[in-house]
Symmetry: C2
């Protein structure tokens, strides 16, 4: 009942996320959020409570989207190893934009359980889909059959982070591709 919002919350959250991706939490002011989200200040506080609430919503949104994208990319290839390659290729392609997961890890570590819960939930999901891809790639003879699957999957996921760090530090895409290639080599 009563008056409905003039903006769509999910769109506003997506816009907030792109600000946080570029400037981090502390580097983003409430004014920057108001400008980027295109909503009034009071609407922001009514909807999200405070700046921290906006950040949590943005991180949740980002992690969910990113996980879905990884899962889809892994599934859209016939051979599992090609799905893994495609996942890295996508990471390289989009590496010019900051990663909110990486940003929140580096900025806050494990200090806030609210954040670690969001990240860990996505982390477990990602581990599952990657681990599944590793299994299939092993069965298809493209990866070694003797490796610890959890550690191998964690290694692949950590390589995603390393590509994004390298990109944000200014590395050329040839170097990013090399990281992906060497990473897969490590599991062969």
């Amino acid at each position: 009942m009563a008056r409905p919002k003039e903006f769509e919350v999910e769109i506003a959250v997506a816009k907030a996320a792109s600000v946080f991706r570029e400037h981090g939490y502390e580097g983003t002011s409430a004014q920057m959020l108001v400008d980027a989200m295109g909503i009034g200040r009071q609407s922001l506080y009514d909807t999200f409570g405070d700046k921290w609430g906006v950040y949590r919503a943005a991180l949740t949104h980002y992690c969910h989207n990113e996980c879905s994208a990884h899962r889809d990319t892994l599934h859209h290839a016939e051979r599992a190893i090609d799905g893994i390659r495609a996942m890295f290729a996508r990471v390289v392609e989009r590496s010019s934009e900051g990663c909110l997961g990486l940003g929140s890890i580096v900025e806050f570590g494990c200090r806030h359980s609210e954040l670690t819960e969001i990240r860990d939930r996505s982390g477990r999901f990602l581990m599952q889909v990657v681990s599944d891809a590793v299994s299939r790639a092993q069965a298809e003879g493209d990866l070694s059959g003797e490796l610890n699957r959890d550690h191998a999957s964690g290694f692949l996921i950590s390589a995603i982070a390393s590509i994004r760090v390298a990109a944000r530090g200014g590395a050329p895409s040839s170097q990013l591709k090399a990281i992906a290639d060497f990473t897969i080599r490590g599991l062969r």
Copy 2:
């Protein structure tokens, strides 16, 4: 001439660095620096100009120390591959403390040339010593002789970042060690 400082600049810089390592630039206030460095506010501003000057000094100090440590670790082993392993082992051991290089990359990207210059100088130094170790390891038959040495060295360095990201995200040290092992496997 005139009155000498009551504090040692390098020690103060080291203390500042440890604050920035934990909280980043924007997450660190001048008051936090004053408390941690154990000097007066005006002494801070007289010596470093502003908060940004403290950060530059801290990053420079940190990068220099880190580079030296990596070089020493790489040199102290008889076989080059053991030096590389020792380098990773050291990174794993110290992974509970944040990395200022990683922090500055993630927080600022390439926005400030003052920072990229500091990082790139250390990056080139690190590339040299790692590349040298790779060469020797190749000559000693412990790494493949057919890989692009620059890309391989960049891969090793990026793996250091990935270990630190994983650690800050809460990964157990068994996972960190696995990252190091798989990384070396990729170059074999």
